[in-house]
Symmetry: D2
């Protein structure tokens, strides 16, 4: 019998607004056209419409761009669970590209696997969607570090 | 006594032109402003000038962008060693972000560790350069697959 | 709406006997005392009772031993889906140790995420069980290569 | 021009004795027969003679055992640089198995890439040695966490 993954309880009631504000400051995300579509405790979705500017030499979405949204979805999933006065940074991630990112859009789903105080371990799956058919194109495993007492962009 | 890494012998005399042409087709690399600065057998350098469009919420170059140039440098390092009629794809990579990508430009150095016929294992280091001081900001380990008889963008 | 993971159809009716026979030949698995408890299409469980010989300096089961059973569970999960005349080898894996392996026994659950002809991508979770309480202690992501026409231990 | 890797200065004059004592407590290392052959600031070598008990189904040394000594060499390399009152634990590692571990003995060389106060990033290479010919059989990238004020096995 495998225990269910725990439901996560955010420590900051305003987690969604805080996470969305941080995402809004990432110019690299605007550059590729990524949107933060879903923000829940321990779970974030990034959506990315296809456009020629983000492709590689075969016309598919570039693997590095797939990595960007996977990293971002999982990192912000971790960020939903940190206190209001903490920021997060990516320690490392590992990604398998399992199919070409061939779709009208991509959906990256990041989720927390284990939320420690200092280190938060996450996973992400990325799907390519063509004519509403979903194909898994990448899976990621990631370590995030919480920096306590170090707000994002303290003014 | 540790043996030196072997010198690599390309199987395609035109490897540099072939690799540069493929890189030129990656619109995602133009989007971020990456340049292929060095192409040698088993070794490729990608340079990336900083600009606001590629930053994250703290003003450093986005970790996903660091991943893009590391993946690209190492993948093309592998591509220098494949035959003319083969293309390559990234199977997977793992990256540690060891310092903020805080510099006027980044240099990603990709190199082949072991060139198999089907799988090529590579490593990359990324440096952030500020006032000619180099700081290691990311290290990567990667697996590349060679697709034989499948040229890049066959017409 | 996230699509369910596909049910896997083995290409070799005798997959379970074949996989168990291969596991039986791994002396390293006997050395640590690991048992292959469950073998299903695309899914394998390895169980490992605790004993002093497999511990590290704090008395928990050694992280390297945790890696051995995670690697083995996921690799054999891949092996359930290959043809009878193919063998498998681990290309690479990445593992996060998320809690001490503190239990009377460990259970490693390996499953196939995407079965390609040449490369098979898998994941594994390892639980430490103490007094029937399960604690996730490691997660892994792995790439397996199928070697076609190359049976295990051909006589 | 690539800057040389920095020479590391240990913060604990007794680092070598401390690290060797910790290694001596790992029963799992005795079980497989691993020896700590070299201990320098930021660098550790583990040697492993071959024996039938540590093989897999093809008669080579088991990939999981290769992982154990790579993890250990790199983790203890990190441990040479921590203060006397700190212990270390493996956060995660990623390993590519690039050739069969086919030799009379293995040598794992672990080295620190970047020593942070909390997180230490390392790499390891493992060689299989047959008749004094060295073949690279695995490369690893790893994250280690230092637990300050938490000595190994405090009495």
């Amino acid at each position: 019998m495998r225990p269910e993954m725990p439901q996560f309880q955010p420590r900051d009631a305003d987690y969604a607004a805080r996470v969305r504000a941080s995402f809004g400051l990432q110019q690299a995300m605007s550059l590729i056209g990524a949107e933060m579509a879903v923000v829940e405790p321990g779970y974030v979705e990034i959506h990315l419409p296809n456009k020629p500017e983000i492709t590689q030499q075969h016309g598919f979405i570039h693997g590095g761009v797939v990595g960007m949204i996977a990293d971002s979805a999982a990192g912000y999933a971790a960020n939903t669970l940190t206190p209001a006065d903490a920021s997060v940074l990516t320690v490392e991630y590992k990604m398998n590209l399992v199919a070409p990112a061939d779709g009208q859009r991509l959906v990256a789903r990041g989720e927390v696997v284990r939320p420690g105080r200092t280190l938060i371990v996450t996973r992400a799956d990325v799907y390519a969607i063509r004519d509403e058919q979903w194909t898994l194109c990448a899976i990621m495993q990631q370590t995030i570090m919480a920096m306590h007492g170090k707000k994002e962009r303290e003014g």
